[in-house]
């Protein structure tokens, strides 16, 4: 596979990263929309964030600029904070309602 080797020698092209990122993002969206377990939904959100992170890093590498990587750190920090708060909320919800089904938690209405 000289072509593949050649490709790898010149570095993985940006489009591969972006395609992987898009696939991961789409998976995250699909999971977010169609799963009912809150924990799964939560994990899907993380998946989407990381898909975006991947494209940030890829672009940073392509443009040889560090700002994309720095942005990734911010996203990770936010994601960590969000995970802490989100999990705490999920715990409380479970304590109060004994369910993790997202469709049964509709207090935002009214």
């Amino acid at each position: 596979m000289p072509d593949a080797l050649q490709v790898l020698n010149n570095g993985v092209p940006i489009s591969w990263y972006l395609m992987l990122s898009a696939v991961l993002f789409a998976l995250g969206v699909a999971g977010f929309l169609f799963r009912r377990n809150i924990i799964t939904v939560f994990m899907c959100i993380e998946l989407m964030l990381n898909a975006v992170n991947l494209s940030f890093v890829a672009f940073a590498n392509m443009h040889k600029q560090v700002s994309g990587q720095i942005f990734v750190f911010f996203v990770m920090v936010v994601a960590a904070a969000e995970a802490a708060v989100g999990l705490a909320i999920i715990l409380t919800v479970f304590k109060n309602r004994e369910t993790l089904n997202i469709d049964e938690i509709s207090t935002l209405k009214n």
Binding site: F32, L33, I102
Partner: protein, 615 residues
């Protein structure tokens, strides 16, 4: 510095003390504060008079601070004293002091004693401000202030419905006049760029006659409101709902003469607007004769004197209108003496009869209240123009000036003088002669009430030649072409005496006659007895259409229809839109997420279609 500000400030301090602490003060203390503040003010007027020197050559003007400053236009808080002001100051503070003393006796048993004196002192403050003002705006402050106090004091017995409506009527009718006054001030500002008397009057002769006529006529509208002239006189007879000292001070001696004072003060404007002068004279004469005829048939003693006041104010306007300004002021002064006395005497009579005001239930009081009878006789002589009483001089001065202007005005004035003598003496005979027809035992009034009566009686008798106003004011006003003819004087005296004699014949000698005349006149008598139905006409043509219009157009149409409609419409529309939008808010997190996804996909599509995805 003469410290002119002290003159109004003293009553104002009295007002503050009685108004704020009066509720807790004993009556003797309230009396002391109220009377002393006005007497001190009178004392300060005397002091200014003694030390000011020649006021004719050098009017005293004091500037305290600049009140309004807008570009070139400035209004200062300025007071000025010239001879005209001096006369007014003496009248206001002098008669004010007497009436305050009288009121301590008259109001002794009334509720709200401190309130009464607080208002009365406040009135003195505003009236003195009006008189001392050196520009139209300061005058207007006093003008509005006395209107306010008049309203408060007419409605003094505010639990009585008739008193509060009378207060409202006085206030609202005065608004019409004040509107005219405001317009006059605007015109003055536009044309002269100042409101100061001295600047306006020095510039006035150079202005076009049309402008001056417009200003003078608008000032006249203001004066008609305040001084109860046709067509705005209707509030004054109703104002008699107030306590009698108020009727004497505000609605006879001082406030209602403010219009005459203002016209005399603006003499320069009026003399350069002949058409306006003619209007003043005709309105004055018409009011004099009109009110006098109504006075002939009234039975309430205060109503008789109220119409008499309207009529006498008409005389003053006649004087001003025919150019005899100083005669008008002279009559203003003598009228203040004898009309204050008439009202205070009427108050004393009402006091004696335990609150009865209907003359048909009085009579025979000369036995029970001799001093009141004697003093009222002096006042009645003076108002009838009996020779050498005060009214004789001033009325004569006005009538001879009227003859010089137009003889027919003199004749109408003389007939009015006859009627005046008739109705005043009619009231006198009905009250003091015959037998007592009221309830209880009538009694003489206390000394605090009698002393002012006696002072005023002396003034009514000698005030005419003791204070020769035209002589004092010589040079201030252009000289009116008076007709120097003693015959005119004799005729008016004869008419006055005839009025007295006729009233004596009708109400003492032949008591059946008035009723016979009344029944033989029939409709005409009814017309006069009901005051020409003017109030009813005003109700039908102005008041009721206004109320109906306000109710249907402004209330139901504008307020409830348009304004409430807009406000409620915004509410209902928001609710309807919200009703649709709330369907989005399912509370289901996954549906929200779906909307977000749909939204972002749509956004991407739009970006792709419109300009392609950004490079």
């Amino acid at each position: 510095m003469q410290n002119l500000w002290l003159i109004p400030a003293l009553p104002f301090i009295g007002f503050l003390i009685n108004g704020i602490f009066g509720r807790k003060l004993p009556k003797s203390m309230i009396n002391l504060v109220a009377v002393l503040s006005v007497v001190l003010s009178f004392g300060w007027v005397v002091k200014v008079f003694m030390t000011a020197g020649d006021l004719a050559a050098m009017p005293v003007t004091e500037h305290y601070f600049t009140w309004i400053k807008s570009g070139e236009f400035q209004v200062g808080w300025d007071f000025t004293v010239d001879k005209l002001t001096m006369i007014m100051l003496f009248i206001v503070t002098g008669i004010g002091s007497l009436i305050h003393i009288y009121a301590t006796g008259y109001m002794a048993h009334e509720e709200g004693y401190y309130r009464f004196f607080a208002y009365l002192n406040l009135f003195m403050f505003f009236m003195l401000d009006l008189v001392l003002a050196a520009n139209y705006l300061i005058l207007f402050v006093g003008w509005e202030g006395v209107g306010l106090c008049s309203y408060l004091l007419i409605g003094f017995y505010f639990v009585k419905k008739s008193a509060t409506t009378a207060g409202n009527k006085a206030f609202i009718v005065n608004r019409i006049g004040d509107f005219g006054f405001s317009l006059a001030m605007f015109l003055i500002v536009v044309n002269f760029g100042t409101l100061s008397f001295s600047q306006v009057f020095s510039a006035a002769p150079g202005k076009p006659t049309e402008t001056l006529t417009a200003i003078a006529l608008l000032l006249l509208v203001g004066a008609c409101g305040k001084s109860a002239q046709i067509p705005l006189y209707v509030w004054l007879p109703d104002a008699m709902e107030g306590p009698t000292p108020v009727s004497a001070l505000i609605h006879a001696a001082t406030m209602v003469t403010a219009g005459v004072y203002m016209c005399a003060r603006s003499a320069v404007i009026f003399t350069h607007a002949p058409a306006a002068m003619e209007t003043v004279a005709i309105i004055g004469l018409a009011t004099a004769v009109f009110a006098a005829t109504i006075g002939l048939a009234q039975n309430d003693i205060k109503k008789v004197f109220a119409y008499s006041t309207v009529s006498q104010l008409g005389y003053m306007f006649l004087g001003v209108g025919v150019g005899a300004f100083s005669a008008g002021i002279w009559h203003l002064m003598t009228h203040a003496f004898f009309k204050a006395l008439l009202f205070l005497g009427a108050g004393s009579v009402i006091h004696a009869c335990h609150g009865e005001q209907d003359m048909r239930h009085m009579g025979g009081l000369k036995k029970y209240a001799p001093w009141t009878c004697l003093t009222l006789a002096c006042a009645s002589l003076a108002i009838s123009g009996f020779p050498f009483t005060s009214g004789y001089f001033s009325k004569d001065a006005i009538l001879s000036a009227a003859y010089g202007h137009a003889p027919w005005m003199y004749w109408v004035g003389v007939i009015t003088a006859g009627m005046t003598a008739f109705y005043v003496w009619r009231a006198f005979w009905m009250t003091f002669w015959g037998d007592y027809k009221g309830h209880g035992h009538p009694h003489e009034s206390p000394p605090s009430m009698l002393a002012p009566l006696i002072v005023l009686a002396v003034l009514s008798l000698v005030g005419g030649f003791a204070f020769n106003v035209p002589h004092i004011l010589e040079g201030m006003f252009p000289i009116a072409e008076g007709a120097e003819n003693m015959m005119l004087t004799y005729i008016s005296v004869v008419f006055g005496l005839a009025g007295i004699a006729l009233s004596y014949y009708m109400y003492v000698v032949n008591k059946e006659l008035p009723e016979q005349i009344a029944s033989s006149l029939g409709g005409l008598y009814k017309l006069v007895y009901n005051k020409y139905f003017v109030d009813e006409i005003y109700d039908a043509t102005v008041v009721n259409p206004m109320i109906t219009g306000s109710r249907t157009v402004l209330w139901h149409g504008m307020d409830q229809g348009v304004i409430d409609g807009i406000v409620n419409g915004v509410g209902t529309e928001s609710k309807a839109i919200g009703g649709v939008l709330k369907l989005l808010q399912s509370g289901n997190i996954r549906s929200y997420a779906t909307w977000v996804v749909i939204g972002s996909v749509a956004l991407l599509l739009v970006m792709g279609v419109v300009e392609g995805v950004g490079r």
